[in-house]
Symmetry: C2
Subunit: 209 residues, 2 copies
């Protein structure tokens, strides 16, 4: 577990093997790092645990060498065993307090909030950032609900000015500027990078907005 | 995490909510304890993690009060956070070494072996017991494969005399004796208890074989 540092959330890529077109998420991670990604997450809801751990361990090593924080979605045990920097926890996942007990006080705990009610529910856990979305229509996450738009970034930011917010959901090079303009600390993307033919170029294009 | 003790594997009930007919696995756990179960496992491959953790935490408390070991299937983080005594790990789950690092040397690590090849693969991890099966045809676990029968207990016992073996898969009050006669330290059952109308009575019937 690396020491907690100020998070650079500008371009947070969520590695989901389900949309990687059969390509290795480890190789995609390498390409995003070459393209200037500032934070990575592994979100794998299908593979056997052993395979997720192997991928997470490899990505954690790449990220450590590049000084980029690496987060595992949902699975506190895999975050711990892989040497990741933290976890992103949904409302149905293990409670953040349990994750912090296991991963240590320096662990990065990310959570999600799509409205003020969810913001209020998440804040007591002192998350290191909140993913806010879906910003736009997305096909990557079926249970994502209706788009809340960049306006929700502004609403949540006014309610909780100190917690970094990351827009997620349907973000592309075309619509990312509106998310940042609304006050997001960064954008989180899945298919815009992971499903791109040229991952490094797609990353660079989003990174240089 | 409780101190490791000699395992009493005589009647190991696997609590699977998928076959509990809508009843609470915590309540079923309570009834098995009343019926004389000697070890319990929570195997929940469907519920949200938060719900699994809540059930595991409640069952761990019941088991601690009754001095019965409690094992969580697959999920090392949930075992850890719930205060369970260990985990049962399949071949696709986190490696036993990672589980021991997290849960401590006193944790009970169970694994599965259906033949000599799997026995040889499991032994280096020094499992505290091996589940051997399926003994008989089972509908509870779809990927269980063809029955290996009590003869496999005898075969594995000759190959590894010191590791406790537990027969699992399709075991009922009618066929359990053959499993024990083959040299098993105990029997593990799922539907014979969890799907029973009277859980406590079903447990007692199997416990007194």
């Amino acid at each position: 577990m690396s020491t907690k540092r100020a998070l650079d959330l500008r371009l947070y890529v969520v590695l989901d093997p389900a949309i990687a077109g059969g390509r290795s998420v480890v190789e995609i991670a390498r390409q995003t790092i070459a393209g200037g990604v500032t934070m990575l997450q592994l979100r794998d809801k299908r593979s056997p645990d052993r395979n997720i751990l192997d991928a997470a361990t490899a990505i954690a090593q790449l990220c450590r060498a590049a000084s980029i924080p690496f987060i595992v979605n949902d699975r506190v045990d895999i975050a711990w065993a892989s040497g990741a920097d933290g976890v992103h926890l949904g409302h149905d996942d293990l409670p953040p307090a349990a994750a912090r007990r296991l991963l240590g006080d320096d662990a990065i705990i990310g959570m999600s909030a799509g409205n003020l009610t969810e913001l209020a529910a998440a804040l007591p856990a002192l998350p290191d950032y909140l993913g806010v979305g879906p910003m736009y229509a997305t096909h990557t996450k079926r249970d994502a609900g209706a788009p809340v738009g960049p306006a929700m970034i502004r609403t949540l930011r006014e309610a909780a000015p100190t917690i970094p917010l990351v827009g997620i959901g349907g973000i592309t090079a075309e619509n990312a500027a509106a998310v940042l303009a609304a006050g997001a600390a960064g954008i989180a993307v899945v298919s815009a990078v992971v499903a791109a033919r040229d991952v490094e170029a797609a990353t660079r294009a989003l990174r240089c907005l």
